[in-house]
Each structure stands twice: as C-alpha cells, then as structure tokens.
Amino acid sequence: QDGPMNIVFTHHSSASNPFWQAVQKGFDDACEKIEANCQMIFTQTEGAIDQQAANMITALAGSPDALITSIVDNTAFDQIIQQAVDQGVTVIAANVDDTEGAAGNARAAFVGQGFIPAGYSLGQKMSEFFPEEGPINVVVGISAPGQNWSEQRGMGVMNFMEEYAAANPDREVNVTRLDTGTDGAVVAERVGAYLLANPETTAYFDTGLWHAYVAQVLADRNIPPGQVLMGGFDIVSEVLQQMEAGYIQVQVDQQPYMQGFIPVMQAYLAHAVDLSPTDVDTGQGLVLQEDVPALKELAAQGVR
Amino acid sequence: MSGDAIIEVRDLHKWYSGVHALKGVSLDIRRGEALGLVGDNGAGKSTLINILSGTQQPDGGSISFEGRKVQFGNPRDAMDAGIETIYQYNSMVPTMSIARNMFIGREPLKASIFGVGVMDRRRMAEEAMQALRDVDLHLRSPDALVGELSGGQRQGVAIARAMHFKSKVMILDEPTNHLAVKETEKVLGFIKSLKAMGITAIFISHNIHHVFDCTDRIVAMALGEVVLDKRVEDTSMDEVLDVL
C-alpha cells in the first residue's frame, strides 16, 4: 500500500504520568521502525474517560489506519469503536480491556493486562509475605475514588482478600479502604498518619505507585522495612529504590514499553499483510526485590 | 400631634460595630408635611433614613406607619408601604443602562407569569427619557451606561426615578449634591410641589437655604440625637446654625 500508516493512540491518562510516558516511548520507537505517522493523545485530566472519548472522535475524523486505545469502561467506547471499525480502522485495545473481553465491543485484539486480574495477582503474591499467625489488617488506598483504573485495581486486591479470608476462616482479616489521592506528598501524609494511628497494619496496597512515598515516611520515622508490607502498580525509579531498601515487597509491572510497542506492530501486520491482530499478555509482571538490579538500568531509560 | 402622623418613630437605636449611631430618636412626621432634616456630618441622618426605608434594621425602638407598627425587613417592604427613597450614595447599577436602572425592580411587563415576564423595552426607554427631561437633564440615549455618566447626570437619573415613581412618602437624602443650578432648582420645585399632591417629604441637605426654602418643619440632629424640632415659622437660620 502507498504512503506511511497513520496510527493514533488514545488513553485515559495525562502527560505528567510517567507510566504512560513509557508507553509512549514504546509506541514512538515502534512507529519509527515501521515509518508510520503516529500520535498519542493524552487527556487533560488524569482518568478522564469523557475526554478520552472526545479525543477518539476527533482522531477518527482524521481517518487514521489504526486506532489503539485503552478501554477503561465497558460501554462508553462501544459506539465509537463500532464506528471506527465500520470506517475500516483497525482497532486494538492496549493496557486495559473491556472486562467482558472480546465480547464487550468490536476491537480486534487486546495487548496488556486487565486492572482486576492485576490487582488480584498483586494480592495473591503479597499473601506469601503475610505473617504466619495473628490478624491480618490490610489497607487498600483508592487513589481516585470513582475512577475506573483505581477502583478496579482496588477491587482485584479485595477480591483476593475475600478469598483469602474464606480460605483461612481461623484468622481475622480486616480490609480498610482509604481515599489516598494521586499526589505523592498527600498520599505519604495520609497513609503515614493512618499507619501511625494503626501500627498493627499488616499490608498497604496502593492502586498507583504512590506507596513509594509512604515508604519514605516510614524510613524517616525509623520504622524497619517489612514491618508494613507494601505493594502497588508500575515501575519507576522511586519504586525500585524502595524495593531495594526492602520497604516494597511486590510490584505489578505491566511492561508499558511493550504495551506501546506491540499494538503498533500488530496494526502494521494487519495493514500490510492482512494478518489479524491477536491478544498479547504483556506479562504476569510481578516484580520482587531480587528482580530490581536487572530493572534499574531499563527503568532509567524509560523502557520499563 | 400624633393624630395625623403618617410616620411615628419612637426611641430608635442603632449600633454599628462599635458606634452608637442613633441614641434614642423619636420623631413624628405628619401627613403631607415637608420635613427638613439637618445635622452635622455623621449625626445619624442617613442612618435614620436607611431604617425608615428598610435598608437597615434598628437595634431598638419602634416605627409606626399610618398608625400601625411596622418592621421593614427590606426595602421592598417600605416601598410596598409607600415609601420612596433617594439615597445619599448612588443607588444605581453602574454596569446597566439608564432605562434599565430607572425601572429596576418595577419593570413594565408585556406579559407575565408568577411575576416574571417580558419587559416592555420601548415603554421603558420612552418613559425614562421623559422622566429625565422632567428634571431638565438632556442625556444622549436611554441605553447609555450609568457608570459612564458624569456625577451630576447620575444623580439626575436617581432623582428622575424617584419623581417618576412618587409615592406616599418621599425621602431625599442630599438629592442636590453634584447637581447643577438648573437641576437643583427643579428638585427644590419638585419638593414644593409634593405638598399640593398630599405627599409627605423628608428632605436632607446641608444647604440651610434650600431647607428653609421648601420645608415646613426642621429637625436637627447631632451625635445621634434630635436636638431641635421646630416649624419653619418658629425658627430662623441662625437658630438652626447655632445648634449644629
């Protein structure tokens, strides 16, 4: 076919989010490889699905060859995606999919890992670090109540905790949900204050990466690593530092670079040789302390 | 004396934070009378007026209007009772046109439900210009903004409005400030003409000549109290100036 491909990537996050910057890096690198015209459209407000939908509509007006998008809601994008497919655009979901999977809408494939399963596996891995006996007090920090990414990750963790409680009927299991916010300083302050008031807390789950700043507070207070277990999502340098120090036990890594890179390749194949895109799991992606050294270099490059 | 009093004020007190502005003012105003209210700066004249017109509430004392005790919670109550006021400080909205200012709160409506309706803008413009001509003010268009008028023009609009909506009692707080000679005379003439229409007037001014020229009775205030209350015939400019 003639001319370079036009590929647009829309999602639900704003430009100041390092995770999506890593996705963009993968996206841009891939585009360079296939010499496509690429555009990633961020939202103005973190998690604004309405803005994402508006961006998709606008992008479709430019008749791209492929649309890559995160599908953070089960219904909100259905119509638009249908319209895109009718228009002959290859639509690939990345990062997050409809919870109903392929049945949910007309997208061709999904590259990434769902919020709820991710939360679930985070909880599962973390439970390996739980103390042998005594009550389990778990805090789930909902970074943005009402926003899909945060609520669903939190729900995944809580789903696991429910199963855990059912599986261990002899142990007392308490789960508290806190509105922790999406500003590192505020999260640190709020969770720090909570942990102070409730020193018997077993584990803190963040639905983002802000527990790295909580770790800093604990370090400031001379609380030894491991006293409160911590885990969350996405890899950035701060998180790796705190994992090295031992404050963070488990971190979910969705390999953002891959989530940006693979969909472009699939779109290219679909466009050039009519291969149909297929689902790609970007990795179970649970990072533990021992994986850190290998990741550090990559994280600094923005590749992981 | 109180037989034909339209307004009876009894022992009125008003505190502003830290200032005792009215210290027990009692006053009868007879129907159809033109009362001149004079007094030093800060004597409490405007405060008294503000209470009578409902923009402020007294801290003590009582007011009777046409024989019945009243409590004006807001200016609307006083207007509905029949008291029309020209305030010392412009009671105009600078960002609105002359015509709209003239009719604020009393817009002529073409049709209405529940008190909300479509304004008759042509009538507003015409009546506004007529009212202005009545005070000898010749302004450009009724659509000029009040905030862009000169000091006297603005005062003229306030007076024109009050003259247009004249009521049972007219209160004029230093109406001739900022006004040029001709307009001032129109206002004085207007006050004199009220008597013939049986309208009660309260006229505040620092110009003793004006007060003596057009009122029947003079009340002087000082430091929140009434210090003189005499019919014009029974007093002289010198006596009034003396107590001030």
Partner: protein, 328 residues
C-alpha cells in the same frame, strides 16, 4: 458604516467570533483540510452541547455575581442518580426527573448556604464539589451501574438528525436552552434583576429586588443545566461513569470569561459564554488534529486560551477608541 463597525466590535462576544474564524482557518490549513470536514464538524457539534450547556449556566450565575465550582460534580451526580435508578428497573420518566431533582437540590443547597451564612460561594461550591463527587461515588459504589439496554430514550437526546446527520438531538436541546436563557436574561424582568444583583448588590437591594431569591434561582438553574449536560453525555456514552466532569468547573468559568463575562459580576452575555465554550472545544479539537506532540499539547492549549482573550480585549479597545459619536 464606521459607526456600525464600532458598535459591532464593542460587543465582546462578537470579537470572539472574529477570533474563531481566524482560528478555524489556521486549523483547517494546519490539519490538511480535516478540521472542517463533515465528520469532524459533526464530532465538534456532537460534543459541544455538553460543555456549552454548563457554560450557559455558569455564565448566568457569574453575571449574578456568584461562582459555581461544583458543576463538574453535578455533571456526574445527576446522571448517576438516574443511572442507579434505571439499573434498579425504575422507568426513565421517573429516573430522569429524579436525577434533575438531585441537581436542583445541590443548587438549592449551594444558594441557601451561601446566602444564609453570607459566605463566599467560592467556598460553598468548592466544598460541594467534593461532597457531590463523593455522593456520586457512594451511590454508585465506585463502578458504573449497568443500565438495561434501551432504558434510555437515546433517540430523544443523542440520535443524529439533520442533513447528513450533522447534528445530534442534543444540539437542538442546547439551542433551545440557549435561546430560552438568553431571552430570560435579556428580555425579562428577572434578567434585569440578575444583572442588577451582580452589578451592584447594595443598589439592587435598595431598589427592592429580592436578591437572595434571584441568586438562589441562578444557583439552581446553573446546577440544573450542569446536570442535564451530564445526562446527555451519559446517554451518548451509554454508561454513567462516576468520574466524568472532573475539571469542568474551571473550563466553564474560562468559557464565560473568554466570552466577556466579568468575574466581578454584572457584565456578560449568554452568547458570549457559548462562544467561549465553542472556542475551547475548537482549540482542543484543532490541536489534536494538528498533531501537536502530547508533551507540548497543554502549552499550546494554555497559550491559545490566553491569546484568545488578548485578541478579544484588543479588538474591543480599538473599537472604543474609534472617534464616532454613537449616542448623542
């Protein structure tokens, strides 16, 4: 001629139109013709009503001298109330008014607290921003309720109509509301009271206007329109997300100000607010089509917004300086 030009140019909302045309031309070239193609115009017009309805309400309230920062939250709350009821099987014709009722209630609360306690509406509505958002999350449990297929009469609100399916029904609703509110503000005595209340409160009070009731009415109307706008968006997207409308409050105020509404009250027009909203949407849309890099996107957005207001102010100044006697 000059006189007409002068009168024309002095209107802030019309200066906005000039800028809109210039901007449109630039984007049209920049985007290689995509900006004005049918599909994109359809897209802009489809989204516009939602923001413009909010801007109309906020403009009215600002003319009345008050602020509303809670519109973004009401935008989410109103359809969420409706959505939760629909998911429970309540009929649309009960659920829809219930949602709007919730919006009205928020407006009423804003108004009563602001006036009864004489505190700045900035604070009341900032608090309400949090309260209403929280209420939305609480009633939804954090996840969008499942609305049964066909429970919402989407035909009446968001279906495409007109030649070439150019408009959505929501555009017609928006037009109707815009005309109604413009008439309300410009032609009725209530509009006169709104302007007087915002222009100079002591004067409005001393002329016997029931300023408290006027303000409360404006608060309620503003909330109602925000809620209605949110409902339209939810019908369009198909699901009542608890997070929609975040950040809308500043956008709506910006639209009003771009259209010439004064932050101090008393000055402004509904048309101006709408043009402001159009400008904001067009800038956003045009920048996406111009493929501005994501990292630079907000810079272009912020810069153009400021620039729009500067051009506006400049045009008006030039107009005022023209030496033509207009009203002698």
């Amino acid at each position: 001629m000059r006189r007409l030009l002068k009168i024309y140019m002095e209107k802030p909302e019309l200066a906005g139109i000039v800028f809109l045309l210039v901007l449109g031309t630039i984007f049209q070239i920049q985007s290689g013709g995509v900006f004005l193609n049918a599909q994109n115009v359809q897209g802009i017009l489809g989204l516009l009503p939602e923001m413009a309805l909010v801007a109309i309400g906020v403009t009215l309230l600002m003319i009345c001298g008050e602020f509303d920062l809670s519109v973004g939250s009401v935008f989410a709350l109103c359809p969420m109330v409706m959505g939760v009821l629909l998911a429970d099987g309540v009929s649309f014709w009960l659920a829809f008014p219930a949602g709007l009722g919730a919006a009205l209630l928020v407006g009423l609360t804003n108004g009563i607290i602001t006036i009864r306690f004489n505190i700045p509406s900035f604070i009341t509505t900032l608090g309400m921003l949090f309260v209403a958002r929280s209420a939305t999350v609480v009633i939804s449990g954090g996840f969008p309720p499942m609305i049964p297929q066909g429970a919402m009469p989407r035909d009446a609100f968001v279906a495409f109509v007109g030649p070439g399916d150019m408009f959505r029904m929501s555009f017609l609703w928006f037009l109707a509301v815009a005309i109604l509110v413009s008439l309300l503000l410009g032609r009725t005595n209530f509009g006169n009271w709104v302007r007087a209340t915002g222009g100079f409160l002591p004067a409005a009070q001393s002329m016997g206007i029931p300023t408290a009731r006027v303000k409360i009415a404006c608060f309620m109307l503003c909330s109602l329109l925000a809620g209605f706008a949110g409902t339209i968006q939810v019908m369009r997207l198909g699901a009542p997300l608890p997070s929609i409308g975040e950040g809308l409050e500043l956008q709506a105020v910006a639209a009003a100000v771009i259209g010439g509404t004064a932050l101090t009250g008393g000055i402004g027009t509904i048309l101006g607010g709408i043009i402001g909203a159009v400008l904001i949407r067009v800038i956003d849309n045009g920048l996406v089509l111009s493929r501005v890099d994501a990292d630079w996107f907000k810079m272009a957005l912020g810069g153009l917004t400021i620039f729009a207001v500067i051009v506006n102010a400049w045009l008006r100044k030039k107009a005022r300086a023209m030496k033509v006697e207009t009203n002698t």
